[in-house]
């Protein structure tokens, strides 16, 4: 247990908000690369795998940043 604890300690005293944003930006980069390569949107699983996190953790991270798609556009057109 001491070891688990030390392992965690070594890792991060960064705030969760900062860490979530970092993960989210990485995810968006992966998404972009994926679209360029495969010409379709990746699923959560495809991105999460590359980041070695769960799909659930990925959506949590992504919620921390403004996503770069204009949500209200289709509504007002």
């Amino acid at each position: 247990i001491g070891e688990i604890r030390r392992y965690l300690r070594d890792n991060n005293s960064m705030r969760i908000s900062r860490s979530l944003k970092d993960t989210a930006y990485k995810a968006l980069k992966i998404k972009e690369k994926y679209i360029n390569k495969n010409h379709r949107e990746p699923t959560l699983e495809e991105i999460a795998k590359e980041l070695s996190i769960t799909k659930e953790e990925l959506v949590f991270a992504l919620d921390s940043i403004q996503e770069p798609i204009s949500l209200y556009e289709p509504v007002f057109q």
């Binding site: 959506v59 949590f60 949500l71 209200y72």
Partner: protein
């Protein structure tokens, strides 16, 4: 799943993430997740702002997943209710024009989800029920 939260504005973000994490098990795309999150956010905001106004009440969010990749999300409150649901669902209709409300909440929900059902009783509360089919991926093997 079923989530119960007090109608405090800081819980809106939490509800949104909880629903997104729930839907994640179907392996949607980021866009699909964003659409569902946005719809849930509108429904929860309505319960906070319209249903309970200055009081703090309870909001229940239920999530169900059906065999055919369909997600059902219900947002339920026990607040003041809606007098004329038909009218409330019209684009731009709002009873709070003063508060920067755009009157587009229900329209956003309708646009981003496949189906929207609103039942409400004045003095009893409101239930917003939304369905969305997550596109089934071509093949499970196409992993790159």
């Amino acid at each position: 799943m079923e989530l119960k939260i007090p109608s405090k504005s800081q819980n809106e973000a939490f509800a949104r993430v909880a629903v997104a994490a729930f839907v994640a098990q179907l392996d949607p795309t980021l866009d699909e997740v964003t659409e569902i999150k946005t719809a849930v956010s509108e429904a929860v905001t309505n319960s906070i702002i319209h249903a309970y106004e200055d009081k703090i009440g309870e909001i229940i969010i239920k999530g169900k997943i059906y065999e055919n990749y369909v997600v059902e999300i219900e947002v339920i409150d026990f607040g003041k209710g809606i007098e004329d649901v038909e009218l409330a669902r019209q684009p731009l209709f709002t009873t709070k024009p003063d508060q920067e409300r755009s009157g587009m909440g229900f329209t956003v929900m309708e646009t981003f989800m496949d189906k929207l059902e609103v039942t409400s009783e004045v003095g009893r509360g409101t239930c917003v029920r939304m369905f969305k089919a997550i596109k089934k991926r071509k093949s499970e093997g196409a992993e790159n």
